[in-house]
């Protein structure tokens, strides 16, 4: 039963990582670079949600604020910077995204200060199944992650703009010659990726505490999950997040609480060596 509880802990941790990875994988698949500003988008979303929650007392309003505000900031980053670098190397985009990350963090630091802030939500006792405890917050987190995933799927597979996104992801030039306007696709992409990051930030903020650095600290596990899952695969991102979370937690009796972090990279490396495109990735990911 000890392990069953660790499994649950891992799933919860994995959901947080998976949501962040979902935002990264969208950008990585379509705009083709690892967006290092994702972590700070999350922080931005958390502060937006926190402010709205304080003002209205409603978590739903907080979520709405996170979705809108982070979608907008993500779009602004695209319009001001990433769009102009579209033809440049991956490194140019990656470094620019680090620059944007630093800048957002600085603005948040000045605006909100450096001391920790928390969502004042009532704590509830867990549901107990045998000896396994699951808190209502875990279930809510799972519901939000699934809803975000379903929404991303619905947008990608049921809407015209989603089809265009997938077309751009598959082959940008081909998409262009078949009459798809990449700019519209990109605007939709950045809004979507930003919104997902905003929600991820809010969920992480509710679970933990909010500081200007807290999203940045989640970046590395999220990158790992995005790559492990296969770039451009929303399901892959979430599943990989869950796998990482579960493996990390279930392994702790063996490797301890420090090495469990290293384990994430080792899993990623091992998978990449066997399957360079990741678990769910398309062939395009391979060399």
């Amino acid at each position: 039963m000890f392990y069953a509880q660790l499994l649950v802990n891992g799933l919860v941790q994995g959901l947080v990582i998976g949501l962040a990875a979902l935002s990264i994988t969208l950008v990585f698949g379509i705009a083709r670079f690892p967006n290092a500003a994702t972590g700070d988008f999350m922080t931005f979303g958390a502060y937006a949600a926190l402010s709205a929650h304080k003002a209205t007392g409603s978590i739903a309003m907080g979520g709405l604020a996170a979705i809108i505000a982070t979608g907008v900031i993500s779009l602004l980053a695209y319009l001001a910077v990433f769009r102009r670098l579209a033809e440049r190397s991956v490194v140019a985009l990656l470094v620019a995204s680090i620059g944007i990350a630093f800048f957002i963090r600085a603005v948040l630091g000045v605006a909100f200060g450096h001391s920790q802030q928390v969502f004042q939500v009532p704590l509830s006792r867990p549901y107990v199944f045998g000896s396994v405890r699951i808190t209502p917050l875990d279930l809510q987190l799972a519901a939000v992650a699934l809803a975000a995933l379903a929404l991303v799927f619905a947008i990608l597979y049921l809407t015209p703009i989603g089809r265009q996104m997938r077309a751009v992801a598959d082959n940008r030039d081909l998409a262009r010659v078949s009459g798809i306007r990449p700019d519209r696709v990109m605007i939709a992409l950045w809004l979507l990726a930003g919104s997902v990051a905003g929600v991820a930030g809010m969920m992480l903020g509710i679970k933990t505490i909010v500081t200007p650095e807290f999203g940045w600290e989640m970046l590395l596990p999220a990158f790992t999950a995005a790559i492990l899952g296969g770039i451009g695969s929303p399901v892959g991102a979430v599943v990989a997040g869950l796998i990482l979370g579960v493996v990390q937690e279930v392994s702790t009796p063996l490797v301890g609480f420090t090495y469990k972090i290293a384990l994430a990279f080792i899993i990623m490396l091992a998978v990449l060596l066997v399957r360079p495109r990741g678990l769910f990735g398309r062939l395009e990911g391979a060399r």
Partner: protein, 406 residues
């Protein structure tokens, strides 16, 4: 190889002598004693750093208002360590070489103090810190005996934890430590002291910062069925841990350092979650007139009560102890000042509390300065042994039940 190197070094020495020559001409400006205030204004020490810096300045003003030390005014030059050893080293270099300070006061984290102390040793100046790491007491860090610590060592915190656990009748303590020098220092200190009493610690867990959840860590600790968990933790991680523990529903008591179990923690998780948590902090010397003077100065400058920043009381005392030693040495020679620091701070002698009073008393004979942060008695390592206040969180308030002396 040897030959060329020796030759090379010879040339180098000559060059240095040439560059160094003008500095002899640039003599110390007469009539002042310059002190570097090197505090963690930014970085993880930022909740305390600017208050510490302000109290160094305020204490210097108090000294100067009483006519200075050994006929000289105290002058303060401030720098920020950024709570980062590399930045601190460059800042200390600037203080020593550009500003020509004759003492550095106020380094906070152990990492910073350990990085700065070789520089102050080289320059033959005094360093006064508020760090916990045991390594600062002994060579190489304190090889010249020029380093003074105004904070309890992590070991002493651990000993206080053990005293409290015994007094409260706990039988099966476990520990949880944040993986850094101070966190582990606290719980290791506790473990040593507890085992020396012939008891056993049932579980030790060390965890990493910035995790989205600490449930597995908690699960491991709770599985050992402890009756109390002793932590070496900080506010952020403690916030998450306390919330997740509360949701686990398993009853256990907590003993935590004061910087983690603070009013901010109560605010973050709510009074129900932290009800009964025991918060331990070195207590300032609150009933002494020196504390009153400090508290007034702190309120005036920051608008906050003095007890909100124990480190600021320490920096306040640093300037006092140093200035009194200068006065007693009647000069600015570091060796002479260093020889007087224990003499003016430790018993026996007339107990004194403010600089003006102490200066007068010094004319008559031996004094014993009692600080705002502690009675300020340095042992042979330059360490102080403050008393520890034991606070119980009750209804959202931190109530001090008793004081532990170790």
């Amino acid at each position: 190889m040897t030959y060329t190197r020796r030759q090379f070094i010879g040339t180098l020495g000559a060059t240095t002598a040439l560059i160094g020559a003008p500095s002899i001409l640039r003599a110390q400006s007469q009539g002042t004693f310059r002190i570097g205030a090197l505090c963690p204004v930014t970085g993880s020490g930022s909740p305390f750093g600017s208050g510490m810096q302000k109290m160094i300045i305020a204490a210097a003003e108090a000294v100067n208002a009483a006519g200075g030390a050994a006929g000289r005014k105290i002058e303060i030059v401030s720098e920020d360590t950024q709570t980062n050893p590399q930045a601190a080293v460059l800042a200390a270099k600037k203080l020593i070489d550009v500003n020509k300070v004759q003492a550095i006061l106020g380094t906070w984290s152990s990492g910073v103090s350990l990085a700065v102390v070789p520089l102050t040793n080289d320059a033959n100046i005094i360093l006064m810190n508020t760090s916990g790491a045991p390594a600062l007491s002994v060579p190489p860090a304190n090889a010249k005996g020029l380093s003074y610590r105004f904070q309890a060592t992590n070991d002493r915190f651990g000993r206080a934890f053990a005293e409290i656990c015994e007094k409260e009748g706990f039988k099966r303590p476990a520990t949880m430590a944040f993986n850094n020098a101070s966190g582990i220092g606290n719980t290791e200190g506790f473990r040593k002291a507890w085992e020396a009493k012939g008891h056993k610690v049932v579980e030790n867990v060390v965890y990493e910062p910035n995790q989205p959840t600490y449930r597995s860590e908690l699960q491991k600790v709770l599985a050992a069925n402890p009756d109390v968990i002793v932590t070496g933790s900080y506010l952020a991680d403690t916030t998450i841990i306390m919330r997740e523990w509360y949701q686990s529903g398993q009853p256990v008591k907590w003993v935590m350092p004061g910087w983690a179990a603070s009013p901010d923690l109560v605010k973050a998780v709510g009074p129900d979650v932290v009800e009964g948590v025991i918060s331990v902090d070195s207590v300032s010397n609150e009933n002494a007139p020196s504390y009153k003077a400090y508290d007034e100065a702190y309120r005036k400058v920051t608008g906050q009560p003095g007890q909100s920043n124990v480190y600021a009381a320490m920096t306040w005392d640093m300037v006092h102890a140093l200035a009194l030693a200068i006065e007693a040495a009647n000069g600015t020679d570091t060796a002479a000042i260093n020889a007087k620091i224990r003499e003016v701070s430790n018993p026996a002698g007339q107990q004194v509390y403010t600089y003006a009073e102490a200066k007068e008393a010094l004319k008559k004979g031996k004094i014993n300065f009692e600080g705002a942060s502690s009675v300020l008695d340095f042992d042979q390592y330059g360490d102080v042994t403050p008393d520890f206040g034991v606070f119980f969180i009750e209804g959202g308030q931190l109530n001090r039940r008793y004081v532990v002396k170790i």
